[in-house]
Symmetry: C2
Subunit: 201 residues, 2 copies
């Protein structure tokens, strides 16, 4: 069965969303048309407006419709600590974990010369200028623990070497709450090599 | 952490979609803004257009932007068989199962006097007019096997009694491919009471 062209188009359009296959897209289209027209209208308007107005923070490059994001403007964050992440989603994950009270810098990707993504595409000129201001004392390189993330961290480290800031990387090891049995070999080796003295309190 | 107001609004707006909680809504918002702006723009435009233009087929009340839907217009369906369903999603499920070659009538709900949903709210006047045309020989009452669905089926049956059409209801029983162990008691009792002679071929 084919629905009318516009209903079919609506089902197709939902498939741009992550994790949405044909069945879920159908369910979403039906739900909006049958029970949530006001919510759907609002969703359409907000998507439209956000796509037009949301850009990058001029200071940290996270997503914002303002010139400078709320976190960069907050007086309660520590200017001496700067955490470099690949995406706003990573920034969000770190914020939700709590504990880090410094500032962020968002790359929106990682270096990938073969795809034409060089240092300026991920804002490294802006990052260098930020560190050159002299307030930052430590840069936490929180890029992903992947080959590309590692390479990007190394590139940034060499770029910032001349400024004499402390550079750090997130610790590697076994994730909390998991079972060793299911941890991959690479992670286990890293955790062994980085083992710590047992502290009983 | 709060994102900028517009980004937060976008995350909130996605929660009108079925099965989308805060985490998924975040992921959808990030995905659209980071990687899928053209697809997002298209999604917004199609939602907007569909909400404005998609209404009910004048003949069967399914969702369509046309006056009469494709299925009602098709010359290859059997006018003598009419299947009454609660929603376009039910109609879609039956179509995808294949086998039924008649027409449909979509109620968009079931009778619910306490909520002010009476016969005309679910199009029963239109359904009666359709049967009164005289082409329909059998009405399959495929409302949900719930208390409300049953009550609605009974109401329709009494409403259509005077027209002398054959009335049927989907068979109740154990679902195919499942394990008896997991079938609920009500369904098992129904399946026992409705047991059929074993046909070995």
């Amino acid at each position: 069965m084919r629905f009318s062209p516009l209903v079919e188009q609506l089902m197709d359009a939902f498939r741009v969303l992550p994790g949405v296959g044909p069945k879920t897209a159908q369910r979403m289209a039906m739900h909006l048309l049958e029970r949530e027209r006001p919510g759907g209208q609002r969703l359409a308007a907000v998507i439209q407006q956000a796509i037009e107005e949301v850009g990058y923070c001029q200071r940290c490059r996270t997503l914002t419709e303002a010139e400078v994001c709320l976190l960069c403007e907050s007086p309660r964050r520590d200017d001496a600590l700067l955490c470099v992440v690949e995406s706003p989603a990573d920034q969000l994950a770190i914020e939700e974990a709590g504990g880090f009270k410094g500032r962020y810098f968002v790359l929106h990707g990682h270096l990938s010369p073969l795809d034409g993504i060089g240092p300026e595409s991920i804002g490294l000129d802006l990052l260098e200028a930020r560190v050159a201001e002299g307030l930052v004392e430590e840069v936490v390189l929180a890029t992903n623990p992947t080959i590309e993330g590692e390479a990007t961290a190394h590139y940034i480290a060499s770029q910032l070497a001349e400024y004499g800031v402390k550079l750090s990387r997130l610790a590697y090891g076994v994730p909390m709450g998991g079972e060793l049995e299911y941890v991959d070999g690479g992670t286990l080796s890293r955790a062994f090599n980085g083992r710590l003295p047992f502290a009983s309190e």
